[in-house]
């Protein structure tokens, strides 16, 4: 698994010079860009906002990369902690804006066969995102971390400061809640 690969490689030590720093960061960028982007996509409404946040997160990660110590934490824990704090800052700055802005932009990056399928798929994704944004903060956070990063419950516990068993319980509750909410949304459609 990619995460494990990163951990193994990262344990080799701190990055000695700019060339290897660029190479290492570039490699991690390829692995983590889709995960971080997906995380931001789950957490905020709007594709542009998610892209801006993804840029912010990677810029912060680059600034702090020389200080990143693989002996203290896995890269995934480190970068998702940055992502989480960036989202918290975002909502602090945009406190007055509702999280539940309807995200109606169609997702043309997906490639199902027909235009009808494409549209219904993008509607489903928008519906799912709507349901996620209705969860409470903890549930939303854990669902986003789990499904975007595919990280272990132990790592999620480290990022969020919750206990591992609590993470599991909240995740299961959130999945069941989402299932029910999403099927309600589907039938309304």
């Amino acid at each position: 698994m990619a995460d494990r690969q990163v951990n193994m490689d990262s344990v080799q030590g701190t990055v000695p010079d700019t060339v290897s720093l660029a190479e290492e960061f570039g490699r991690l960028y390829e692995i983590y860009l889709p995960k971080i982007y997906q995380y931001a996509r789950y957490r905020v409404a709007g594709k542009e906002a998610a892209e801006d946040l993804t840029s912010d997160i990677f810029n912060k990660a680059l600034d702090g990369f020389r200080r990143f110590d693989p002996g203290k934490a896995a890269f995934s824990t480190w970068i998702f902690s940055i992502a989480r704090n960036t989202i918290i800052d975002y909502y602090r700055k945009h406190a007055k804006e509702s999280k539940l802005i309807k995200d109606t932009e169609p997702e043309y990056s997906l490639s199902p066969d027909s235009p009808e399928e494409k549209l219904s798929r993008s509607e489903e994704i928008a519906g799912l995102r709507e349901c996620i944004l209705k969860l409470n903060d903890n549930e939303q956070e854990l669902i986003s971390l789990k499904f975007s990063g595919g990280i272990t419950n132990r790592e999620i516990a480290r990022v969020t400061g919750l206990s591992e068993s609590n993470v599991g319980t909240i995740l299961c509750r959130a999945i069941r809640k989402l299932r029910d909410d999403f099927s309600g949304w589907y039938y309304e459609k």
């Binding site: 698994m1 700019t18 720093l21 660029a22 960061f25 570039g26 960028y29 860009l33 889709p34 982007y37 997906q38 996509r41 892209e51 993804t54 840029s55 990677f58 810029n59 680059l62 997702e107 990056s109 997906l110 798929r121 489903e124 994704i125 799912l128 789990k146 499904f147 975007s148 595919g150 272990t152 419950n153 599991g168 319980t169 995740l171 299961c172 999945i175 069941r176 989402l178 299932r179 999403f182």
Partner: protein
């Protein structure tokens, strides 16, 4: 009959398999609630989105540019360094201070010699 903890454990195991890309290894859940939750998790995992290539390339270019800037900043800082990591400016200041001190001591010494 399974209790809630067992059901949660079963759902979490299935979820990990799905997210690791081993969805085919998911065991058939023992109850309807866990089965439908597992199926929903599978659906959610299949609905994950990817960033556009354009966005990925632009961000990569920005990061490379930023890294080059950081490197330039660090290099210009390095040029100020002399041997043993002592900054050139500090070395000059130290040498000058030592020289002035030496001259003052020499003058005092000469004055004392003359007065004697």
């Amino acid at each position: 009959m399974k209790n809630n903890n067992d059901k949660d454990r079963e759902l979490l195991d299935n979820l990990d398999r799905i997210l690791e890309g081993h969805g085919e290894e998911v065991k058939e859940p023992s109850d309807e609630d866990t089965r439908s939750a597992t199926e929903f998790a599978r659906k959610m995992a299949s609905m994950r989105e990817k960033p556009t290539d354009e966005f990925a390339e632009n961000l990569k270019a920005d990061l490379i540019h930023r890294l080059a800037e950081q490197e330039n900043k660090q290099e210009s800082g390095d040029h100020e360094l002399l041997f043993w990591g002592i900054p050139r400016r500090k070395l000059w200041q130290g040498t000058l201070a030592a020289l002035i001190t030496f001259i003052i001591i020499a003058i005092i010494f000469i004055i004392i010699l003359i007065l004697d």
